[in-house]
Amino acid sequence: MVRITSKILLFLVAILGLVLAPMGRAQVLVPPTPANQLSVAVSTNVTFDSASGLYTYTYTLNNASTSQQAAWLFALQLNGTVISSSSPNGWSSAIHDAEPLLSWAATDVGTLPPDFVDTGNVPPSPFVIAPGAVLSGFQLVSPDPPGNATFFAQGDTLLTQVVEDTGDLPQEGQEVPPLTADSISGGTVGPLPVNTSAVFFGGRRPAVDGFLVFLNLASGDVRTAPVGVVIQFGIDGESVDTKTFAATLNGTDVTALFAPGPNSQQMTAIFALGSSPLVAGKNVLITSVTGIVPGTTRTANDVDRVTFTAQ
């Protein structure tokens, strides 16, 4: 007669578990894979077209060589309006319904590898950004000047795959992370509408402070570069001689960097690190313009100073 020792009992229980486990659970072919195993740096170029009053934002993604995943999706938090967007070759853009996002994704599959077997999952794409690679051409056009925004990037992963819906995925207790949670994120620049009810006057002479106001920049702001500055003349209808406008950034004359628009009483400048006097850290922008003091025939100069931090 065989004595059932505790070791034999444990062995039998383990075998039983192995046999019964697939009956109650889905057979997992591809387990859930976090899509945040990458490190991406985003650089932005912003241009302003006076004729149309539109800003063009162009983004470049640099997937660090230390990343464990290629980048397949890049998304931008949308705080403003997007008129159009364009994508690098092999990528597509989409405005999201559920969240204020504009995403670009490597969607073209090119020519599939000869050994490709269709399992129902997503096929590979030759257009993903491999670790160590850089890709530019993520572009959008907006009427809104640049402001701080958040970007998200996802690593290229297969979809979770099971044989059939006999089990519970994701596993017990796991919430399904939305795109913005299942990705890496960081700070960048994106369209941000100006708030004309919260303008910054920049001076301490009420009689003349309305000659020139800042529509999207105030002292103490911390801004991601490039920094867009939109100014308006005669916010209260004052008579201003715009030809007398002058500006310096960190002591360097930047008057010529201001272009007319988006309307006849506004001017816009884009300051980028490296190609303008803008520096990482503290910056001082000083502007001046001449106008007629309201209720008089006397002319006066409105000198405004705004101190902000660029990063």
Binding site: A26, L29, V30, W72, L73, S92, A94, I95, H96, D97, A98, E99, L101, S103, A105, A106, T107, D108, V109, L112, D118, T119, G120, N121, V122, P123, S125, L159, T160, Q161, V162, V163, E164, D165, T166, G167, D168, L169, P170, E172, G173, V176, P177, P178, L179
Partner: protein, 287 residues
């Protein structure tokens, strides 16, 4: 007064039925009956105006961890004088119940259909009624309940029936659409495309976005949820699969063509679907 010969038998039968109808209550039953109420009315959601049952509750989920939980409905049964409404103490009550065949979107039936459980299923009403708790089964549907019993003198009570709607409220049919087709109806479940209003709107928007990119490529939606949710037993065995598809936020999407799949993934994410799982021959979408 005379009757035609052919009329006489019918009159005799009618008279007999009338006598039986008058005598039956007096002979077999008292004027006492039963009334059932929610034990804690303030804890129960009000009945939906479109509800056709006396009570409603959600189905239990015990064979899946998604939204798992046992759903209970505490009730109290009183013995009452049917004429005056006065409560009568110490009646003995028995509860029997059965699921209505083909309810809850199940076009199949069997004796093994789970029907839930009353605990206790019998007892005395004492002085404050008989408290009992009904635990719903996993399949949605209508549960017909019958209360019988005797008064303290052993006379039969007038039986009472009521219904419990086991259901996920608020599910609506996705309905036909220009940019998608509805597939997967079977003999067991002929109407398989119910979802929450949010899920349905998302699926419509998703199909519109997809066809805007890939004209003439409508999506094909397979199983969603049944008309009032609950377990969606593909095989008709009252058990999974499906494990999910119970709450109106799941939908199966037939595989998009291989070359369109990466774009489909982006469009799905953009539509507000948070989860895509490849299952067998389809993508399972969950919001």
């Amino acid at each position: 007064m005379s009757f035609r010969r052919s009329t006489l038998p019918a009159l005799i039968i009618c008279a007999a039925f009338t006598v039986i109808a008058f005598l039956t209550p007096a002979m077999a039953q008292t004027n006492l009956g039963l009334r059932v109420t929610l034990t804690n009315p303030s804890n129960q959601a009000p009945l939906q105006s479109q509800s056709t049952t006396d009570f409603t509750m959600r189905p239990s989920i015990t064979s899946s961890t998604l939204g798992a939980g046992v759903q209970t409905l505490p009730l109290t049964i009183f013995c009452i004088d049917l004429f005056t409404g006065a409560i009568i103490n110490n009646c003995n009550v028995t509860i029997t119940h059965k699921p209505e065949a083909f309810s809850g979107g199940h076009d199949h039936d069997s004796p093994s259909r789970p029907k839930g459980q009353f605990q206790p299923a019998s007892g005395s009403t004492g002085t404050s009624g008989l408290p009992t708790t009904y635990t719903s089964p996993e399949p949605s549907g209508i549960i017909d309940v019958t209360l019988t019993g005797t008064d303290p003198n052993g006379n039969a009570l007038v039986p009472t029936t009521f219904t419990i709607g086991v259901q996920i409220d608020g599910l609506v049919s996705l309905g036909a659409g220009t940019n998608y087709s509805l597939i997967g109806a079977t003999a067991n479940h002929g109407d398989n495309h119910y979802g929450t209003a949010t899920m349905n709107a998302t699926l419509v928007s998703l199909a519109n976005s997809y066809v805007a990119v890939f004209p003439n490529n409508p999506l094909a939606y397979n199983d969603m949820s049944l008309v009032t949710g609950g377990i969606f037993d593909i095989s008709g065995a009252w058990s999974k699969p499906h494990a999910s598809h119970r709450l109106g936020n799941d939908a199966d999407l037939r595989f998009p063509p291989v070359a369109q799949r990466r774009r489909a993934r982006q469009i799905i994410l953009a539509s507000g679907i948070t989860l895509i799982i490849v299952e067998g021959d389809h993508w399972h979408l969950r919001q």
